[in-house]
């Protein structure tokens, strides 16, 4: 992927690349997330498109130096559009033997390997389960290995500070960061600024980190350590203001935006669970927006309080992950019955049961569709990327308040934690969501189950409103008065009505749009597989294949033209991080034979895994 090469004044060559994937890996204590985030911020500001993925250990603090304690951060940046954090890294920074042990297998053949040799003592090797020192045998021969005495060099650079060794060693990630800035021809400005504002109150730490960063940069520069350095030019991005955002942040922001645009106070009823807790952490900081967060005693109370708040007129949301969803089933049925607006967010993780709590998966789709007793249809939508979480949750708020029926929004651990640059919407461009609370009984008696003929929505009258006193509850309701009704025909009518209400929302959805070719092979996806599919489809088309990509936000109901689209193609491929749940739905709904591609390994698809399958199925264009 080298595009051109030139020689800098300093004597080293600069090669221009269109895409680079770097993985920083070290012990949890080594500050790899920080390093990664700094590199990301600078790369973003300097104009590349990018995507990142942090990979934390499952343990809170695994013993230092062990395999279980390895923490990683991957960034994929490019002068072209970026869809995923990248498959195999081109560069691996390994701060200790455990990081090397865990990550080396992913590094591209011939890739750059930067190693902190200071941490390869016998004891370190033992903890990393190395029998032999990999620096001493030929196991690294297939890579361009740079051995750096990173700890020693950092200590030297910080001698002047008089800090204790323990404290000095904490700065070694900045040394590494400095080296990487040099190697990729990035400036240090952004990180220097960050260090200065972050450590304002701790001048010694500020100084130490600044020194380490500069020393790392200088190490690359002065010693001509790398014979070649690289640059990845700016990408052609749509003009606008950008920020980096991960999925959970975007959900929180989208909810606040929806609160502002509906004029309804936001209420979150929830219980902490990985990987959904961060939404609570975010929202609990937004009190100035009138956001009320309630950390309940469990998930049941979380959704129950949200339903109560909805009854009282708030924009209510409950957030959780798989096991928590399993507990909310009964209350979801009640939400369907009382026809109140409610957003239910599931950040899926590896299942079943406790499963793989820190890993990603898409296996809760069928649960979203059917995880309630009785005929309890719900709107189900899914976000495709970190930034898309904002738009998707905003849409959830629009649908739930307009149709007075709950919405399930599916995200997953991958996009919840992974981040990408997000072009900020103009606040004024965000649609106003019109919500009218009912205040006029209209005639003698208020009819809480009367309906808007178009949307089938019932009126939303909230306690405190004079003259609108009424009862809601989980027993079957008379279709008008809302009183308890055991009438057989009324029940049948209400069951149909609740179904039709959801079906008819299809009329209100924008048409589904395909990216790529409009015949040949269709790759159909939903949720976080968007990036990998988009990248793979693009590559396949470059290779001359006839492939289109349809990615569903709306799963229940689906957009009306989905059926037509599907029948336009010869073949349909559905890659999912489950055993084929969307495939089931497509089978069931469209009686269509599809090709499945399943991956249930707690990790997203590689672009190449999908590409391979596409190449197997697609025809030449």
């Amino acid at each position: 992927m080298t595009i051109e090469s030139q020689t800098t004044g300093a004597g080293t060559k600069v090669e221009t690349l269109d895409r680079v994937t770097i993985r920083f890996a070290g012990d949890s204590g080594d500050g790899m997330q920080l390093t990664g985030n700094q590199f990301t911020a600078t790369t973003a500001i300097e104009g590349c498109d990018l995507a990142t993925f942090p990979d934390y250990p499952a343990e809170i603090r695994a013993p230092a130096g062990t395999l279980a304690g390895v923490s990683g951060f991957q960034i994929n940046f490019s002068s072209e559009e970026v869809f995923t954090p990248g498959d195999e890294p081109d560069v691996l920074v390994a701060m200790n033997p455990a990081a090397l042990q865990v990550n080396l297998k992913d590094l591209k053949p011939g890739g750059i390997l930067i190693i902190n040799t200071d941490s390869f003592k016998t004891n370190d090797l033992r903890k990393a389960k190395y029998d032999e020192n990999p620096l001493e045998d030929d196991s690294l021969s297939g890579y361009r290995t740079f051995k750096v005495e990173l700890t020693t060099l950092t200590r030297k650079a910080l001698e002047s500070t008089g800090l204790a060794t323990r404290d000095v060693d904490r700065s070694k990630n900045f040394f590494a960061l400095g080296m990487m800035y040099y190697l990729y021809n990035r400036t240090m400005e952004n990180s220097l600024e960050w260090i200065r504002s972050k450590f304002k109150s701790k001048p010694e730490v500020l100084e130490a980190n600044e020194l380490a960063l500069r020393a790392g940069f200088a190490y690359g520069e002065v010693n001509e350590f790398f014979q070649v350095t690289y640059q990845v030019p700016r990408a052609k991005l749509t003009a606008g203001t950008y920020r980096n955002v991960n999925g959970n942040e975007a959900l929180a922001l989208g909810l606040v935006a929806a609160s502002v645009k509906t004029g309804l106070p936001l209420f979150q009823g929830t219980y902490p669970i990985t990987p959904a807790s961060d939404i609570l952490h975010e929202l609990s900081a937004y009190k100035r927006f009138g956001v009320l967060t309630f950390q309940a005693e469990d998930e049941i109370a979380g959704i129950g309080a949200a339903i109560g708040a909805a009854y009282a007129g708030n924009l209510a949301v409950t957030t959780t992950s798989g096991p928590g969803m399993a507990l909310k089933g009964e209350f979801m049925g009640l939400a369907v019955m009382v026809e109140l607006p409610l957003i239910i967010i599931n950040i899926q993780r590896g299942g079943p049961s406790t499963g793989l709590p820190t890993k990603t998966e898409q296996s809760d789709l069928m649960q979203a569709m059917y995880g309630r007793h009785g005929e309890a249809p719900m709107i189900v939508i899914a976000a495709r990327s970190s930034a898309d979480c904002f738009d998707t949750v905003f849409e959830a708020a629009r649908l739930t308040t307009k149709y007075m029926t709950p919405v399930i929004l599916l995200s997953d651990g991958y996009i919840a934690n992974g981040s990408e640059p997000w072009k900020l919407p103009e606040v004024d461009d965000l649609e106003d969501i019109k919500v009218e609370l009912a205040t006029d009984p209209g005639g003698e008696q208020f009819m809480p189950y009367s309906r808007n003929p178009k949307t089938f929505a019932r009126p939303w009258a909230v306690p405190g409103t004079p003259g609108m006193e009424h009862h809601v509850g989980g027993l079957e309701k008379d279709h008008l008065t809302g009183n308890v009704s055991y009438d057989p025909e009324n029940h049948h009518e209400m069951v149909n009505l609740r179904r039709d209400k959801v079906y008819r929302i299809a009329d209100d959805l924008p048409a589904a749009e395909v990216e790529g070719d409009d015949s040949g092979l269709l790759v159909l996806g939903w949720g976080s597989t968007y990036g990998s599919i988009a990248a793979a489809v693009k590559m396949a088309r470059k290779q001359g294949k006839r492939v289109g990509h349809l990615h569903l936000r709306y799963i229940n109901p689906m957009q009306k033209n989905v059926k037509d689209i599907l029948h336009h193609y010869d073949k349909v491929l559905i890659p999912e991080m489950n055993l084929g749940q969307l495939a089931r739905i497509v089978h069931e709904r469209f009686q269509l034979e599809v090709h499945k591609l399943d991956k249930i390994q707690g990790k997203p698809f590689k672009e190449s895994e999908i590409l391979e399958k596409i190449l197997e199925l697609a025809e030449e264009n």
Partner: protein, 337 residues
């Protein structure tokens, strides 16, 4: 707060047919509540009655107020959400012994711990009424019911003690048929700022008839009941000639007044008394002691929903009202031209 709103009982009677068994104690409670609500100085539209599932939980339908008949055991969750969303509402829970203490036990103790300003009326008939007669967590050990044909084995909860253990700031007991007293308790609960827990003994004449006969039967009830009044000595008995004192520390004792024993020797009820005293009280029961009714505990503590809004207001004042544009742009932005 007691502005004249000119509400009467009729304003709180809904058009729904009451569907409890004839003779059920729930009728008396409904009546007392419908009589009390107009006297609380609260506008009608601000009442919300939330319930779970059970005979008692049909209560909201019969009140012409906002009402939510939710799920078995879950009224406290719904009610907490309502109160948090709008602390200005007067939120009441109607629940049963099974609803509140079996499936709903956790929500109840958390509501009490948080001191959410909600009024809990627990209709305690010591049985599952709606599901036709299984034993409940307040049924006495050894009870033979549909689900325990050979007698139950678990010890019942002592509801007042459990509520205290969860640090309830208002704990009271009343009896379905003793309407005047029940109304006093309801009023006191309404006036209390904080979570109010009321255990209301209620006769289920179908599945557990006579469970509270010793408290309902006019002939014996005065000897079995200790009517608590703040600041007054613990006196009871038909002839108000018996009292409670503590000889050895922490050990209560019934004494006959007279013969040198006077009111002065008796314990004086203190709603805000030390925990040791309150727990002692909560556990008195026949045959050795009378059972206390009335307000056992009333103490001050911050209310959860109000505090949440105060905190929000405080933050708004300190940080300024949120600005969406600013928020979106937080966390480091860059511009692509």
């Amino acid at each position: 707060m007691t502005t004249e709103l000119k509400l009467t009982k009729k304003d709180f009677v809904s058009d729904q047919m009451v569907r409890w068994c004839p003779g059920c104690g729930d009728y008396s409670i409904l009546n007392a509540v419908q009589q009390t609500f107009p006297e609380l100085g609260i506008p009608k539209e601000k009442f919300v009655v939330v319930s779970g599932i059970g005979c008692s939980s049909r209560f909201p339908y019969y009140m012409d107020t906002y009402g939510f008949h939710s799920l078995h055991g879950r009224a406290p969750a719904i009610a907490t959400g309502i109160k948090l969303a709008n602390p200005d509402l007067s939120v009441w829970i109607a629940t049963g012994d099974g609803d509140a203490l079996s499936i709903g036990g956790n929500h109840i103790i958390h509501l009490l711990r948080r001191n959410v300003d909600i009024k809990i009326m627990m209709f305690d008939n010591r049985i599952y009424g709606l599901t036709k007669g299984q034993y409940s967590p307040t049924s006495e050990t050894g009870k033979r019911t549909k689900s325990t044909p050979y007698g139950s084995l678990d010890r019942p909860f002592r509801a007042l003690e459990l509520a205290l253990g969860a640090q309830a700031t208002f704990v009271a007991r009343a009896i379905d048929t003793y309407g005047a007293h029940l109304k006093e308790v309801l009023k006191a609960a309404s006036d209390h700022k904080g979570a109010s827990f009321m255990q209301i003994y209620q006769n289920c004449n179908i599945f557990n008839d006579g469970a509270f006969e010793q408290y309902r039967d006019k002939k014996v009830r005065d000897d079995n009941l200790l009517e608590l009044r703040h600041g007054e000595p613990l006196i009871f008995g038909k002839d108000r000639d018996k009292g409670i004192r503590t000889t050895d520390c922490y050990q209560p004792e019934v004494v006959q007044l007279g013969n040198g024993i006077t009111e002065k020797d008796l314990l004086v009820h203190d709603e805000d008394g030390p925990l040791g005293y309150l727990y002692m009280l909560a556990n008195l029961e026949p045959p050795d002691f009378p059972a206390p009714i009335g307000v056992l505990r009333k103490t001050k503590a911050p209310c959860f929903a109000a505090a949440a809004h105060e905190q929000m207001d405080y933050v708004k004042e300190k940080e300024g009202e949120g600005d969406l544009e600013q928020l979106l742009k937080s966390g480091g932005t860059w511009v692509v031209e």
